[in-house]
Symmetry: C2
C-alpha cells in the first residue's frame, strides 16, 4: 500500500476511534496499521483532539505509559443535551400518544437508532467517571437504549428477563411489584451473566414508582454486585417519592398538569442549558 | 470560531458521517457547520472517500443533484467478514457453552456492543441495495443485533413480542410453532408499529426449523408488508429444509458432527474469503 497522507490517516483514525468509544488503542496499533512513525501518529492525534474539541464532538484522551494509548470518550454538553431532549420531547408530545390505560406510546422514538444513539451518549456522559463492568436493563422496550449506552461506555449489556422462560442454564430469580401494572412479576437472570463483585449501571425507558428499578437492584445484590447509577429516559413527576433514591431521568412526565390535553413532558433541568459555552461554538 | 483547518474539517466530517450511516448530509450542512466554501467541502469529501477506501473502512458516496449530498455506507469485504466471524466462532466454541436442552450459550457475544456492531454491519452490507423501511426482530436475544443492523441501515427497528402483554394500543396477534421449543407461541405487534405497504428485513440470532421466521413473515402479511430478506447469526445445519427459503446465516452450527465434544460452528462460506483483495490491503 502507498503510504497514507496525513489527511487520510486522520480520517481513518477518527473512524476507528469513534466506532469504538472508550476502547483504548495503543499507538502501536496505528503505527502498524498506517505504516507510520510514532511521532507522526502522535501529531495526528493532536489534530484529531483539537477538531473534536472545537466542534463539541466528544473528547479524545491519551493515556500515558506502557499500557497507554488513545481513546475516544463521548461527552455531551448541556447545550447538546437540550437540543437532543427537546427534539425527543417534541416527538413525544404529538397527539394520539396517550394509549388506553394511560400509557405513553414511545416505540418509534425508543427504536429509532439515530435518536437512541444520542440518548445513549447522554447517559454515558453521566457515568463516564465511574469504573463499571456492565450496563443492566430489563426486557423489552429499554433494550435498544441500553445497548447504545453500553456501546458508548464500551461495556457488555445484561438483560434481565420478566416472567419468561430462560434457557441459559442455572438461573437466579427474584420478585418485584410493578407500580405501573400493579402486578407481581418475576425477574430472572442466568447465573453466569454477571461476575460477583461487579459494578453496574441500570438503564431503563420509563419509571413510575421505581418498583422495577428496585427489583433490579435486589437482583444485583444476589450477584454481590453494586449499582453505581440508574438512568431512565422518562420518569413521571408523581409519585415524587420513588422506591429508589438516586436515579437520573432525562425527561419528566407530569401527568397531573396537562394543559388542553397536551402531554406535559420536559427535559430534566439539571442536564440542560440554554446557552452555548464559548468553547462550544458550533454544534 | 476560528476557521477550521482542512485536517480538522476532515476529522469532524468523518465523525459526523460515520455516526449516522446511510444518512444523507447536504453539502450545505457542512458549509454552514464548518463555515467553508462548497468547493472546499467537495475537496474534503474526496480525501475522506479515498481514505475510507484505502483502509477498507466502508464507502463514502456522493449523490448528485438538488436533493443530493454525501453519506457513509458501511460495506464489509469478504475478508473482513471472515475476520469478524472467525473471532465470533472462536468465542462460541469455548468449553461449557452447551446448556441443558442442547442450547448454545451466546449471551456474552450477543450483548457485547463492539462485536454486534460489526455483525450488524455485515448484515447491512447484505441488504444495502434494497429499498427498506424497517428492520424487524422478535424479543429478546436478537434485539441488540437487530438494532445495530438498523443503525447501519439508518432504519427504525420493530420488535415483535412473544406471549407478552402489549400496552401499545390496538394490537395484531398471530400464532406460530417454535421448532426449538416445540411449543405454540403468540406473536404480537402494535397496529401502528408498521405502515402498510412497507418493505422489511428480518434479523434474528438463531434459526433451527425456521418456525419463528415463518411466523414473522406471516405477521408482516397482516401488515401488507413484504419481507425482502432474512438474516440470522446462527443457523443449525439440520434440518436442512427450513420453513423459510431465503435466509442468510452468518454462522452454521453443525450439531451432529461434533468431534471430541467440540462445538462444530463455522462461517457461511458464501460470505467469507481467505485472501485480501489487492485494493483492500490493510484492514
Amino acid at each position: 500500500m502507498n503510504k497514507l497522507k496525513r489527511n487520510e490517516r486522520i480520517a481513518a483514525m477518527v473512524k476507528i476511534l469513534s466506532d469504538y468509544p472508550n476502547k483504548l488503542f495503543t499507538l502501536n496499533y496505528f503505527t502498524e496499521r498506517f505504516d507510520a512513525a510514532k511521532s507522526t501518529i502522535s501529531e495526528d492525534i493532536v489534530v484529531v483532539k483539537q477538531s473534536m474539541n472545537k466542534l463539541g464532538l466528544g473528547q479524545v484522551k491519551t493515556v500515558a505509559g506502557a499500557t497507554g494509548g488513545v481513546k475516544y470518550v463521548p461527552q455531551t454538553s448541556q447545550y447538546q443535551n437540550k437540543k437532543v431532549l427537546d427534539e425527543v420531547c417534541e416527538k413525544l408530545i404529538e397527539k394520539n400518544r396517550i394509549l388506553p390505560g394511560g400509557f405513553l406510546y414511545m416505540m418509534d422514538v425508543l427504536f429509532y437508532p439515530a435518536i437512541i444513539q444520542k440518548i445513549g451518549e447522554i447517559f454515558a456522559s453521566q457515568f463516564t467517571d465511574k469504573k463499571l463492568d456492565y450496563v443492566v436493563t430489563v426486557e423489552t422496550r429499554g433494550i435498544p437504549l441500553a445497548i447504545m449506552t453500553a456501546k458508548a461506555l464500551n461495556l457488555p449489556l445484561v438483560i434481565l428477563r420478566i416472567n419468561s422462560e430462560v434457557t441459559e442454564g442455572s438461573v437466579v430469580s427474584t420478585s418485584y411489584t410493578s407500580a405501573t401494572t400493579g402486578t407481581i412479576r418475576r425477574l430472572s437472570l442466568a447465573r453466569r451473566a454477571i461476575k460477583p463483585g461487579s459494578k453496574v449501571v441500570i438503564i431503563d425507558d420509563f419509571m413510575r414508582g421505581g418498583g422495577t428499578a428496585k427489583g433490579m437492584i435486589d437482583m444485583m445484590q444476589e450477584f454481590e454486585s453494586d449499582v453505581e447509577g440508574i438512568g431512565v429516559l422518562v420518569a413521571t413527576k408523581i409519585p415524587e417519592q420513588k422506591m429508589v433514591d438516586d436515579y437520573i431521568p432525562l425527561l419528566i412526565f407530569d401527568e397531573e398538569n396537562e394543559c388542553d390535553g397536551k402531554i406535559n413532558l420536559y427535559p430534566n433541568s439539571q442536564l440542560v442549558q440554554n446557552e452555548k459555552n464559548s468553547e462550544n461554538l458550533k454544534i
